[in-house]
């Protein structure tokens, strides 16, 4: 079991309340996923040449006391570019005006225990072990702003309970995926992708789906075509919720083994595994509530 939540606000004024509206959604899915939680939030993109990375220090010796400012200083010294850093305990968001591969290579060399959670111009990502309420409080989820987000509460079945195996998973830039279910052919997908130079960071089945879909997008498929290939190649049980800088997308396996409910008003589109995570939303009593059909694609534009 796991819980997924997604929220996309249509009314610009609600962007300021994105996190506040979402926290009860995430906490509402605690029974479905008490061991880890995470979310990816999409906001206004950085300038064309800039990138940001979300980095996790919980696996280093210093943990939440990691010297992020020192890291930013060293990066500036070695790469000759200014690095902005925004710190939330064992998470930090580093922004810079240089190719992200250079920064990531430097971090891998000098701080191999730092874990890069996401890369892009729009995405910030937080995930950790703990109950959804603990994780939400740890990173101040209620203060997050943006146009849309994708969240997850985990009850692990396919790989260990560790921060890097929590969801969302990311691949490439500005793409993330959360998963409720279990895949039966993640190793086959992995064996197909690895010879193409695609590197995996965990043994988690969801990572295979994430990297497969991002690979299709990078090969030029539009989101709908990539999802169609996902239906053809990914075997198992899944409700997937995906985020890109301007879209939220949802698919369910042909057997609809894992649940999902959507509530839509003029102000927002909210998605959760179960209605109890949507019940607190403003105007919910007049929202259009429906259950997404199996093997259909649902894509909402931010």
């Amino acid at each position: 079991m796991c819980g997924i939540v997604g929220l996309l606000v249509k009314t610009p004024a609600l962007r300021e309340q994105l996190g506040e509206l979402m926290v009860p959604m995430l906490i509402g899915m605690t029974e479905r996923g008490p061991d880890s939680a995470g979310l990816a939030v999409f906001g206004n993109p950085l300038a064309e040449s800039q990138r940001k990375i979300s980095v996790y220090s919980g696996l280093t010796e210093d943990g939440a006391d990691f010297n992020w400012l020192g890291l930013a200083h060293s990066l500036k010294e070695h790469l000759g570019v200014p690095v902005d850093v925004s710190i939330k305990g064992n998470h930090a968001i580093l922004s810079f005006d240089v190719a992200p591969t250079i920064v990531k290579r430097w971090i891998a060399e000098h701080h191999p225990k730092l874990h890069i959670l996401s890369t892009g111009r729009s995405i910030d990502l937080y995930k950790d072990i703990g109950t959804p309420a603990e994780v939400a409080a740890r990173y101040g989820f209620s203060g997050l702003t943006g146009s849309h987000l994708v969240g997850h509460t985990r009850m692990a079945t396919e790989s260990a309970v560790t921060p890097d195996r929590a969801h969302p998973f990311t691949a490439g830039e500005d793409f993330c995926l959360v998963h409720n279910g279990s895949l039966s052919n993640p190793n086959g997908i992995r064996r197909m992708l690895e010879p193409r130079g695609i590197r995996f960071e965990t043994d988690n089945d969801t990572e295979a789906a994430c990297r497969f879909l991002e690979w299709r997008l990078r090969e030029g498929d539009d989101l709908e075509t990539a999802l169609q290939k996902g239906f053809e190649e990914l075997d198992g049980f899944f409700t997937f919720l995906m985020g890109t800088p301007d879209k939220l997308a949802l698919i369910r396996d042909p057997f609809a083994c894992k649940p999902a409910v959507v509530a839509e008003t003029d102000d927002y589109v909210a998605i959760a595994s179960e209605f109890r995570s949507l019940a607190h939303l403003p105007g919910i009593k007049h929202a259009t509530v429906f259950e997404p059909a199996p093997e259909e694609m649902y894509v909402w534009n931010a």
Partner: protein, 229 residues
Amino acid sequence: MERLTFDLATTPLRELNTFLHNDAKDGKPRHVTVLNPDGAHNIAVGLDCPVQVEVVGHAGYYAGGMNKSATVTITGSAGTGVAENMMSGKVHVKGFASNGAGASAHGGLLVIDGDAGLRCGISLKGGDIVVGGSVGSFSAFMAQAGRMVICGDAGDALGDSLYEAVLYVKGKVKSLGADAQYEEMSDADIAAVASLLDQAGLDHDPKAFRRIASKRSLYHWNADANQEY
């Protein structure tokens, strides 16, 4: 009739269910309104007295499950397994129902005004189900007894491995499951559909329905079938 209200925004669900299991069994006619269900699981499960329960809003999993004698109405949608293993009485969902609605119901009537998800009426054992909308794939899988009336369409593998339950469908059927077949509608079938539609409060022409029942070719092992049915 005594009328009571439980507001689940302020009252624990256990208090409601405890009342329905104990106090409500004194034989007095009662109507219980449940406010702010907010998708909670197990609302009004295991009732065994003729109480009327109206859930105003969306119910979570297993609402009205194992129902006996009671009448449970849900004004919104119902999650997985609504009226699962119902013995008697009536469960009425005015919105849509998720997967496994009426699974293994032994008796009673489940009415879903909207659509039902996958595996509606799976392993039905004698209950009746009337769906105003469409049903998802694998509905009535291994249904042993009882009747299903589907006013909309059906997904894949309708009535797969059907035993003696009988299905009536008005709309399109994406595919029939193994061992299910269309059969002629007799006068008794038309009367049965008319009666069930009437009990469900749905207005359709009973003659517009098709009957689906078991071919009974899976009842006995056939070594020559080579796993093809």
